[in-house]
């Protein structure tokens, strides 16, 4: 296997591993730009993965599964909104609570409904989003350089992968080219300005959270009914937090978010690939070293060693009308 093949393989892996991060980070983008911190992305992803798997299993249709994932993720978002917008509670505490509830409830329900040790039954066929082979793969495959890239990286992904990449420019467009986006960005910087302009801060923030829930649903569905074929106990495995770090790294902007997520996906892919292989000059590195790499990198990024990020000014602070 020559270096180019390795590169192509890692690139393909990078994309697969980045998709849930991209959806989740974009989800976080909408709530945080609206001034609501959302550490509960992890829980949303998990709950959505569970709901998607359940509904896909029952209906045998992946799209219905996706809708279920979106639905539950929005419900979680709304609870977060109820706590942090309506009741002006601590947003971090609320997010942590929702993460616990998702981690527990998914297993409790999975066990009660399916009796498979907290998993849902395996999905097959139409109940999953299967890889799509783009036209011309067979013709293209033998073209040097472009061929393998087209065949193994661009083609052969499931529909959600393509949707994730479509969601990036779409998010940008919504944020910067629509009325909703203008107001959303404003409410995250100065809710009082939005309020005095005659716009309801509460309603606006709730709508932002619905968008967050919507995108979070895709992330969860990708995990359980596209990337794998069932819901598994705690299958989000910290991706929500990594997505949050990517969001910080990307300074809360949609296109950089995509690149940040690809970077984390790439790290993960390299880690997987390097497992058990000697690193030139160092020798064999313990797998744990690769596994903790994204977490270490997150800390390095947060430490601002790679540029300081200024979060939306009103982030994390419940809005109270000033006198």
């Amino acid at each position: 296997m020559d270096y180019f093949d390795i590169f192509v393989s890692i690139l393909g892996s990078t994309i697969r591993l980045s998709i849930p991060l991209i959806f989740t980070a974009l989800a976080g983008l909408f709530s945080e730009r609206a001034g609501i911190f959302d550490i509960g992305l992890e829980g949303k992803m998990l709950a959505a993965a569970f709901a998607a798997a359940c509904l896909a299993y029952v209906s045998g249709n992946a799209w219905i599964g996706l809708l279920g994932g979106i639905g539950i993720s929005i419900v979680f978002s709304l609870i977060h909104g109820f706590a942090s917008i309506t009741n002006r509670g601590n947003q971090i505490v609320s997010g942590v609570a929702l993460n616990f509830i998702a981690a527990g409830l998914t297993v409790v329900l999975a066990q009660a409904w399916f009796n498979q040790g907290g998993r849902t039954p395996s999905l097959a066929g139409e109940a999953r989003f299967l890889p799509i082979i783009l036209p011309g793969v067979d013709v293209m495959r033998d073209v040097p350089i472009i061929g393998p890239l087209y065949a193994n990286v661009i083609s052969g992904n499931n529909i959600l992968t393509y949707l994730a990449f479509a969601a990036v420019p779409l998010s940008w467009w919504v944020l910067y080219r629509t009325r909703f986006g203008l107001r959303l960005r404003a409410v995250g910087e100065n809710p009082a300005a939005v309020d005095t302009a005659g716009i309801s801060v509460i309603w606006l923030r709730y709508r932002a959270l619905v968008v967050t829930g919507f995108l979070g649903g895709f992330a969860g569905a990708y995990l359980s009914i596209a990337q794998s074929a069932a819901f598994i106990n705690n299958m989000s495995a910290g991706k929500g937090y990594i997505a949050l770090a990517a969001l910080v790294f990307a300074k809360w902007k949609p296109v950089p978010v995509m690149f940040a997520c690809l970077l984390f996906g790439f790290l993960d892919a390299v880690g997987n690939f390097m497992q058990g292989k000697p690193v030139p000059g160092i020798g064999e590195v313990p797998v744990q070293a690769f596994q903790v790499m994204p977490y270490v990198l997150t800390c390095v990024l947060l430490a601002g060693f790679i540029g300081i990020a200024h979060p939306p000014k009103a982030g994390g602070v419940p809005y109270v009308k000033e006198r």
Binding site: Y176, R177, N190, A192, A197
Partner: protein, 502 residues
Amino acid sequence: MTPHPAIELAGIDKSFGAVHANKNINLTVAKGSIHGIIGENGAGKSTLMSILYGFYQADRGEIRIDGKAVTIRDSQTAIASGIGMVHQHFMLVENFTVLENVMLGAEGGQLLAKGVSGARKELKRLEAEYGLDVDPDAVIEELPVGKQQRVEILKALYRGAEILILDEPTGVLTPAEADHLFRILKVLRDQGKTILLITHKLREIMAITDEVSVMRRGEMVATRRTAETTVEELAELMVGRRVLLRVEKGEAQPGKVLLSVKNLTVKDGRGVTMVDNVSFDVREGEILGIAGVAGNGQSELLEAIAGIRKPTSGEILIDGQPVAGLDPAQLRQIGLAHIPEDRHHMGLVLKFEEYENSVLGYHREPRYGRGALLDLDAIRKDAEEKIAKYDIRPPNPRLKTANFSGGNQQKIVVAREIERDPKMLIIGQPTRGVDIGAIEFIHRRIIEMREAQKAVLLVSVELDEIRSLSDRIIVMFAGKVVGEETPDAGEQTLGLMMAGAV
């Protein structure tokens, strides 16, 4: 048929818990006039305007606009009724452009693209008509405050406001900017708009209003035609008694130089120079006043002297010793006391009980506990003594600090800093938001410090306060000291210096 008045308020009543902020307010404002509203801090002016703009709901009473009774549920209905408001603290999104701020809430469609060209055209028209020029693509945080305020006015006009409320619009402006604002307001009035102007500055009332109403403790106590009243009458109506404009004090007996600031430069977090090469001395037994419009570097200067902010360059000497590297705790130890500008965010921890605040900054002193532990009995006893001496009410050291009124909160800070018997005292805005009785009390304490041969540095945006307390006055503008004067200098002179016109 006579035209209806622009605004009629009848029997407006509003309480916040135990605070009765507006009591049975009646007010009539004629169309096409500038109507001033004055009153002490906490008199209820902002509350009344907030009710008019839909921020608060009145408990009782009726609002009529152009003769029609309206229920103003929120800002949106206020805007729809033709009311615009320029708030004391600007309601602008700092990292947005002027255009985006103006459009916010009046975008003219789901997509921005449609509204943008219309908005540009409208901004051009408003600029031509009222002389309100700002670059639509400038980012707010890069604009000077005067221009930011213009954006606020543009926002209101863009929404078709016929009635414009301005809450203390000149507090942050230089005299020149204020003059510009007034010219704009007059043009607006002449075009038929109605303007409600809240201010503490009686001079401004006399200069541009047609009528003026006075509020006191939640009540509307009088309305006068401006042409038929005087500054003295208004002051008396405001406070309810004759006001002593000058504080009694003896001759200054300045001793040796205690605090010396040499070529001090301070930059803020973004690297903007806030204090620019400032030098001055403060002697024992004198009060040096620093006058200036808010935001000209006084806050940063005070913070640098108090050790809260690191100066970029220059020297600060106390008793001849350089102290620029010391932190606030070390500075306290060598006898520097600091009454900060902002008691809510700096001087006090509002969630603490009173006695805990009475040692803030001095909590490590041995008299408040040896070793690692605090001696709560000693602290409470100490707090009780200060409460008695400064007449802090209610006299309860276990009460949460947030539950004291502004004046009493300020007394807690003043008592803590002065009772320490410091060598020198630096003070920012000692009487901001404080009622008249407390103001006199605090002023007397400051004079006493001077009489006891302490060095006092006083920063205030209130010219009257500066002039009545200080022995010497320096004026800051744009981070620089633009000159030194005696307290006898005319208001005009100082005003011009504060505007950077000298």
